[in-house]
Amino acid sequence: MRAFDCAAIQRQKLASVRQQYLSLRVMHRRMKFRSAFAAAILLGVSTVHAHEAIFSWTYTTDLTPKGHGEFEQWITTRWEKAHGSYSVVEFRDEFEYGVTDNFQLALYLNHHYVYANDDFPVADPAHPKKLLTGVYETGGEDVHKGHNPAKPFDSYHFESVSLEGIYRFLSPYKDPVGLALYFEPSVGDQETELEWKILLQKNWLEDRLVWALNVNYELEYEKADEGGYERAGMFEWFTGFSYRFVRNWSGGLEFWNHHEFADATVHEHSAYFLGPTIHYGGERWWATLGFLQQLPIGQAFSQDNKEFAAHDGYIFGDEHEKYYVRFRVGINF
């Protein structure tokens, strides 16, 4: 009887200790959430969140669980073409929700800031398909029609709204590989896009080493200066390795190969990018920072791209820059 009383007292003590730990844990969680919220405000980040991304460009098959949500802020900056100044800062504010454990929906807003000066090669008036060597003007995809090409240009532009759906067929934790399909329509004032992706993931070493591969196809309809819409197609693939080298931190390498097709049929170019990525994942928030540099092994196939986009092995034109940096931060709830 006495032994029973002692055991009961010990259980009560243990319950009391647990309760104290739980209270402390709730306090710590609140403090962490407030810290993350304050950090997001300081960064100029609108607070919402998505599934944890260990890569900056490549998707894994990890999804937000059923009934949970995430706010994610993307900031991508890309800069430097063959000549002059050109830089774009792109923002994506994303909200993700787990509809089921294998199906996730996301809604996001895309907007960007652009600065351009003396960056765009000029065609020879006598031979419009030939370059006027050494002559540049302010231009490019993001420069508004009617801008004086002799002057610098800068502008903020709200681009589009996107809806993203990802369905996972195989889990990398339970099946030999993870497999998911991705579908994303985007609607904006200048262009409408449809994007499909096949996502693959394979894990090793107790899931600390992750390899992912994305094969993407995108069809876009862009408003043409002459009126109407121009059709373009993009085929690209991303791949990356990431290793969790210490608690909370992973680092890796990403590779991107992009193919552009005019009118979705004429192969214009192939551009290649490589760079490191680093990721921090905590209990309630995560952040990922990645850098990509274009490799000087790009190939221009169309006459137009050979003349106006290719430069010393790099591909510029409307689509690419030399350097890309992307930062993503997510808050789970």
Binding site: M31, P65, W79, D207, F327
Partner: protein, 174 residues
């Protein structure tokens, strides 16, 4: 051209900010008394030989991460083992109590700091391991229920227990 560098510098400062607070649900002492109330414990750490390590990996089909295992002999029979497995972000520390015959008496989660899957600490989930022996099958989704958003944690704890049961057979039983 300077603007983009500010966008890089700010994220870097965010990345090197302090990480999550370390929260411990149970100390070793608390876990011991939660599993074996009223018993006394004698520390009997085990350092595995290469042969034992290989045998455990072969028997459990789970990789052994550490050669040293924290083990306590329980008065009146049984073993108390503290182990850790890889979580999504951090290691998950848990304790396993084995009866004198090597079957699982109880498991307790000591540290868990992952985003999802806090239910892993619920008694109902932990009770799925009670009575399991090295002869039992322990497979996620079949013998142990998965928890939404915490597949990696559930899988690694299941594998961890499977490895400990093989550890008992090879390094503790005799």
């Amino acid at each position: 051209m300077k603007a983009e560098f500010a966008f890089v510098a700010l994220p870097v400062s965010a990345l090197i900010a302090p990480s999550a607070f370390a929260v411990q649900y149970l100390t070793v002492d608390q876990a011991q008394h939660a599993i074996f109330a009223g018993k006394s414990f004698t520390a009997s750490p085990v350092k595995l030989t290469a042969v034992q390590r290989k045998a455990i990996e072969k028997a459990s089909d789970v990789r052994v991460l550490h050669d040293e295992q924290q083990v306590w002999r329980v008065s009146g029979g049984g073993w108390f083992i503290v182990d850790e497995v890889v979580g999504k972000h951090e290691f998950i520390t848990y304790a396993a109590g084995l009866n004198a015959d090597g079957s699982v008496k109880q498991i307790e989660i000591m540290d868990y700091r992952e985003t999802y899957g806090g239910q892993i600490r619920d008694q109902k989930w932990r009770d799925q391991f009670v009575g399991k022996t090295s002869k039992s099958t322990l497979k996620l989704d079949r013998d142990v229920k998965n928890i939404s958003g915490a597949t990696l944690s559930c899988l690694h704890i299941t594998d961890g227990v499977k490895r400990l049961l093989a550890f008992y057979e090879i390094a503790l039983k005799h």
